[in-house]
Amino acid sequence: MKEAFDVAIVGAGPAGTSAACILAGAGVKTILFERGEYPGAKNMSGGVLYGQELARVLPDFAERKLPIERNIIESRLWYLSKEGGYNLGYRDAIFATERKHNVFTVGRARFDRWYAEQARQKGVLVVPGTVVVDLLRDGSGRVTGVVTGRAEGEVTAQVTLLADGVNSPLAALTGFRREVKPEHVALAVKEVIDLPAEVVDQRFGVSGGNGVTTEVLGDIVGGMNGVGVLYTNSASISLCIGANLADFATFKLKPYELIEEFKQHPMVAPLIAGGKSLEYVAHWLPEGGYDTIPRLYGDGYLIAGDSAMLFNAPHREGSNLAMASGRMAAETVIEALERGDCSRKSLADYGERMAQSFVLQDMKKYRGFGPFLHHHKEIFNELPRAATFAGREMITVNGVSKREKQKLIFRNARKETSLLKYLKLLWSGWRAVK
């Protein structure tokens, strides 16, 4: 199959397919490789997507029969202990009208397949069921294409875009990104729980295809640095729980047992009651932050999306960073091809664009967030315990004066951790996100 392309893309996720759409739109001869049986077959996320970024690639996405699960009108944040927890939410009707589809949920198996189909219609050659196992290079080390797992599966290209996601044996092999360390990724598992659409509507107080997202923090991950999410789909609920992989290895907790406990939590159980599990999958998230981003480009190649460790942990944004970086990579490549120069110098514009966009600016802003969580495990055990004690005391009416209750709460909180530790936590938390 020794065929020549302008651009070869590894991976039909949000990053690779966004780039493919833009390139094909500009008439660039593009081939898109995907190892799954179909695009999306290997992918999973909580399922939240952002319309604004998608519209920058496909302005008319709403007319293209995008498989949306639910349009999100409310975001909740839970802080849980073992038996209960706090719920902070914000709902706004504007997200059902003017700002409709600003945030919505999808199932990645369907979405990624649909997205790659849009790229195909624009002229991209989409090749599923094919693993890229190595990169082609010339004598000077410049990347000149890809080697696939198929017989005679070499394809040459002027530029190769690595959009193969966070789990990249290709990176380890070729060294374009160092193999990730366990502390730089989170391992998450997900179950999709089947429920009739009306039941989802009732339980979340929504209708008309609208839905709710819930991010879950606290004592649900056995004291590890981790989070859970609970998102609504049309006729199902997505439940994910994950934690830092290094923590998993030291704490000796099993992901499939963790998700079972999550399902039985008193805040979660009533929402999924009567539902049947449809699927169980696992995936990493890049968690190392700004300091683990590799060099984004070199002679004949660029890196985008999760493969470049782009993930905004505190906001749980990944797919939009993937789309934005894929788009900027494509825009850079179009100009480089026009110049007839795909050297490292010519592709350097990608680094510039990224540095000036929200992608790297947000990554930089939250640079300290990962280490912050890593060093403050009390967020995942002592603190939710103290918070639950406080909540319980304030709500229980038992003849004890409120002033006495405040004293009790304060004393209990001090028992859980020292005052100094709370102050330190506040201080470093502020520094991590300011």
Partner: protein, 93 residues
Amino acid sequence: MTMKIEDKLFLDRFRVDEESHLRIINGQICMTECKGQPCLYFCPANVYRLEKDYISVNHEGCLECGSCRIACPHLNIEWRFPRGGYGISHKFG
């Protein structure tokens, strides 16, 4: 009622390749040098199981997360993706 891992994997769609894409490089290390054998815990698909005197690799249920490749403290696992189109295929994702 808790759901066992076998039941969870039963929900998934796999196209299993006869040849395993996962291989323990040196079984000796697992049984003599590896403290705690963490692969028995963190693997979300319970692929690695402790038998009488070795660790078995049940690659058919692998969810392809990559964890064992980097979190085995002895980097004792040879890991590649299943052949194109093989392995798990997410229905919802």
